[in-house]
């Protein structure tokens, strides 16, 4: 991220990547800034532009010569910067980098130079004319720009202590607090593209200013109330333009068809949906809003039990980048947008903060190691927006129904939400690995880290070493002086069991978590006569996917986790029509796929051919190989398969006969690593 992705993206934001679609993002801020300076220099004589542009994307007539005073790109192009600066913040937090920080400060100067005196900061309207600002919340995404600006500003402030951008973001938020609200004369609208809901919560948590939490809650409370705001707004626009009102709002698409506390099915645009649910989970937690929490629970179950791919991807259809109906999860036309998986991770983290349950951690890990990572090439320099589970390159090129499915990663996108979204998530992954309360530290994801936790006036430091996602061994070394703390470790759903050895306060305990974590058993240490070892049994508990170790910790204490990581052959609920008769293969959190580079063309002719699906047999027949792919260590799987041999007949349809097959060895690589060896077929599901 720090060495490749962030510098590359800065070039992209400045339209300097050859062969990539221009962003126009920093250019728009400069244009708006120049207009602001001219306005100031002209004083009262200055006439603000009148809103002229219409649409969601503006491109120059002549791409080589964009006009000097025009806005280009999507209406929400400002967010390219906001997501980038957020990733920069997380990166600086981990690795000081004076050159990057200077670049960031200069970028911030440019961005802040575009801000209006009242705090408004969205270059689309600043350049095109402020008279129509906030008149199309449904499509023009000013509140989405606010949300990303806040997220970026907070991250940069937390990393550097510099508050110039934070103040700009607060200025824009304060202006929105004036514009939107329950009082008479205030606007009753809410974001067309959600994110402000969770961003304002974050701004509240950093600044302590309750008005931000209140505005977030106002947006959530308003959503889905009647009369439907997006329809009212549409009527106003028609009246303003002197046009007849032609209703064109799909409230369900915007999750504005029902008050949010009454919603039970995930519908419409998938990214926006999980951003909304993230904000709902935040507000449910901070406001102890039980109806909101119940809605989050219903929606979570709906998404993960009916609308999620085995890779943790969501949003099955490209039509509106949306959720399809229950169990409609086609593999070859899947949308499964990278940003939607990222949003699912956001939401899962917030559900974990609301209540720690293994199921949230499992889905978070699944989305992260599979769809999120698949969104980026191993070299960090090209990206997928769409993450299908089955690709036939010919279909992508020749079948317009699959035009949204790219068979190779792209350098950049006109609508560049995904690449910087990956950057900001991966750079801040520590915030997803750990959450805490006053007396408890939860470990959700296992990765090499050093972390400290304040418990009262004492400090607990943990050094974590982990071999994930390739092996389930984790070593946690404790430093501290008699620090009382509950440590919670997630025992993943993919593990068939875990052995835990815990030394706390010098006392030893052996623990076995069995049958997918449903039982905890203290194992007497060798030589000990005491059941449960010397650490008090009551200090150990297993609840809903987490092993809790309650102790008073000191230097030299150590926890060793050893989670079993068998290869798993998965089937889908038979209501997932596309996967009937097929299996997917996973090991730990990593889902595997077949690629043409390993298995030849026409992957659909291949099937898995194990002797039995008995778990022991699976481990015996499937070979695990440590390897390097393009310099990245990973584990690949080899297993017995069969390949259909097309018959001699040149007839398309002929009477059924035993089909000829030949024995082959299938090689599967992690799904996230696909398409790093040139264009070719790929498939996650295969016949069995």
């Amino acid at each position: 991220m720090r060495r490749e992705v962030i510098p590359y993206q800065w070039e992209a934001l400045n339209d300097r990547v050859e062969g990539a679609a221009p962003s126009y993002c920093m250019r728009n801020f400069r244009v708006a800034g120049r207009m602001m300076r001219e306005k100031k220099s002209k004083g009262a004589a200055y006439v603000a532009p009148t809103y002229t542009f219409r649409g969601f994307e503006a491109l120059p007539e002549d791409p080589a010569h964009p006009e000097e005073d025009k806005f280009y790109g999507f209406v929400f192009q400002d967010t390219d910067f906001s997501k980038w600066i957020e990733a920069v913040g997380y990166s600086l937090l981990q690795h000081p980098d004076p050159v990057l920080e200077q670049t960031a400060d200069e970028a911030i100067d440019i961005v802040c130079g575009a801000q209006l005196e009242n705090g408004y900061l969205d270059t689309y309207y600043i350049i095109n004319g402020m008279d129509r600002a906030f008149t199309n919340l449904r499509d023009h995404h000013e509140l989405y720009c606010l949300g990303h600006l806040v997220e970026g500003a907070v991250a940069y402030y937390q990393a550097t202590g510099k508050d110039k951008l934070l103040k700009a973001a607060m200025g824009f938020a304060d202006y929105c607090c004036e514009v939107f609200g329950p009082a008479e004369g205030q606007c009753k609208g809410y974001p067309g593209h959600e994110i402000a809901e969770m961003a304002l919560v974050r701004l509240y948590q950093v600044t302590g200013e309750e008005r931000y939490l209140k505005l977030s809650r106002f947006f959530l409370d308003q959503r889905g109330q009647q009369p439907f705001y997006f329809e009212e707004e549409e009527k106003e626009r028609a009246a303003h333009d002197g046009q007849p009102y032609r209703p064109n709002t799909n409230n369900a698409y915007h999750r504005a068809h029902l008050p949010v506390r009454e919603q039970a099915e995930a519908v419409g645009h998938a990214v926006r949906a999980v951003y909304l649910y993230s904000g709902m989970a935040d507000v449910a937690r901070l406001c102890r809003d039980e109806a909101m929490e119940a809605a989050c629970d219903r929606l979570w179950d709906n998404v993960t039990r009916e609308k999620m791919y085995v890779t943790g991807g969501i949003g099955a259809t490209h039509m509106g980048e949306a959720f399809s109906f229950a169990y409609d999860l086609p593999n070859d036309t899947a949308y499964s947008e990278t940003c939607a998986a990222i949003g699912l991770v956001f939401w899962a983290r917030r559900m974990l903060q609301l209540k720690p349950r293994g199921k949230y951690g499992d889905v978070m890990e699944l989305a992260l190691y599979n769809t999120v990572l698949a969104g980026m090439a191993l070299d960090g320099r090209s990206f997928f927006y769409v993450n299908p589970l089955e690709v036939l390159p010919r279909a992508c090129h020749e079948d317009a129904r699959k035009a949204h499915v790219k068979s190779v990663r792209q350098k950049w996108f006109g609508c560049a939400c995904c690449p910087p979204n990956i950057a900001r998530l991966v750079s801040s992954v520590a915030a997803y690995a750990y959450t805490e309360s006053a007396d408890t530290l939860w470990v959700h994801l296992y990765m090499g880290s050093v972390l400290t936790k304040q418990v009262g006036e004492k400090t607990l430091e943990l050094q974590v070493e982990a071999g994930m996602p390739w092996e389930g061994k984790v070593k946690v070394k404790v430093h501290g002086e008699q620090v009382p703390c509950r440590l919670a470790f997630r025992i993943p759903g993919w593990s068939s069991g875990a052995k835990v050895s815990c030394c706390c306060g010098g006392e030893q305990l052996q623990i076995a978590v069995e049958e997918k974590g449903l039982a905890v058993r203290g194992i007497p240490e060798a030589g000990s006569t005491e059941e449960g070892g010397r650490m008090p049994q009551k200090a150990v508990a297993y609840r809903e996917g987490y092993l809790y170790l309650d102790g008073v910790w000191q230097d030299g204490d150590e926890i060793l986790l050893d989670m079993e990581m068998p290869v798993r052959i998965l089937t889908a609920d038979p209501r997932v029509r596309e996967d009937i008769g097929k299996v997917a293969v996973a090991r730990g959190p990593v889902v595997y796929c077949l690629e043409e580079a390993d298995n030849g063309k026409d992957l659909y002719l291949c099937r898995l051919a194990l002797q039995s699906l008995n778990p022991e047999n699976i481990q015996e027949e499937i070979r695990i190989e440590r390897t390097q792919e393009l310099g990245h260590p990973m584990i690949v799987l080899k297993m017995p398969g069969r390949r259909l041999v097309p018959g001699e007949s040149r007839e398309l349809y002929s009477p059924c006969q035993p089909q000829q097959e030949r024995e082959i060895t299938l090689r599967m690589i992690p799904y996230y690593a696909w398409n790093n060896r040139g264009e070719g077929e790929m498939s996650v599901w295969m016949r069995a």
Copy 2:
């Protein structure tokens, strides 16, 4: 057709069907006619309208009050009439009907009243302004209107002897002979939507005027020549409009990317493609054009071996209503337009005229009994444009990717090509059942008919009785006096063998066609000692799917054919990805399907569960039942199946376990009869 379809369609052409999209067709002719009368009455003072409308479809601002002097509907809306009058012609040929004939004559008066003095007859430009006529051959389909007008006029003339419409069509064709041609100053274009090619051949055959054949051949010769005409035309339009030229022509989509004699792959719009290939087959035959014939052969093999559904449907994608690439034949998003199957029948008939081969007859019959008939409800009052092989109504309603797939037949369509196309094909089906040369009569399809053939000065009359498509027994009674004639009977590819008993000139012969017609064996009549019976063996031959009986026929002669009609379990070439692991069921020419009405919801959970695929076992395990569905006699099939029982787990993905199934009896009905019992799921292919 005569009692339901033709009267219903006349109402539709006049916008009198409640709940159906208006056609505007007859209205446009009336508007154009009124403009012509006004022009005549105003004389020199009349100013013709200047072309103003742009686009492919014009709809009234206020549907209840279309404006009086405007054109509405698609640019090719005139063809609704032409297809209707063609069906009327065929119907009158079979069943005199003075009331219908009077309606038709009145309609013809309206249509002819709109014709310009120079012969031009397309209301779109007559109403919108003639100054831009023939400037958008690619999209505005004037030559398509010409083609359909010719087809309709010829049919009506052949049925009634009335030549008013024929003269109008000749007038338009003559005008086109002036406008288009190889001479300097003549237009070098060709139809964007093919049909004129075959229609002009027909006009040539009826009138004997070679200029029509020449124009047809000119269109074929020009197609695909460089510079590409549609691009040149597009440049001219841009220049005329003062716009920069932005190339927007996909020549392959129009089969204009290569000279037609060099084409080898069916590409682009499926209906237009098979209309073109029909014209090519006509010209190949009449002009003995070997390069053209070779192209037809290549294209035929390409379509039927790589791009055809098991139902005889073609055109796999709704994007452009087009062929997809080889073996890309999805069942649930299939386009398989009714008109494309109809066009395939047109083409097959013309290939049979070029050279009688069983493969053409097999495909013709397959398309006719399955996709063509499925295009219309059993009551003839509602229609499918798209004929998918798998339907989940929920997906049609909720998944925009399947918006083109309707789960119930529609009353009419704004672009109403399919319903009248079915009417004209079914009304003229005799022309597909039989073709002839001077001394040979070919029987391609078996149906109850009485037909006469002139052989020199003698007349042969055949009375055919057949139980198709439910049984393979056919009885042909001969009437005549010593008429020498070769009779050819198609032995269908779906038959596993045929026994033929022939009495010719009082002589008897028993013939067995075995192993799919590859061997012919004379069987001595019982009691006869002479091998091969008393009819000379040399008079019997089997060549490429046809049994030839060469004899001198007389009253009392009789031919009995008994073709075996086993139930067939079909698999697709494994390169058809969507059908791997699945089977289809057919009997005779009829392909069967599962419907929800018989088998419950979630058809994808069902599979066929036969003991073996041995042909004898299939006949034993699958029960044949004669039944009536909505008053129509048909044979349904019952067979052992299994149905997956979704497990208890509420997890979407879980470790593979033996799946629970329960035994069921599957009931399959003919594909053409699906969706006559309300909305529900349907599937042709099922797991096996």
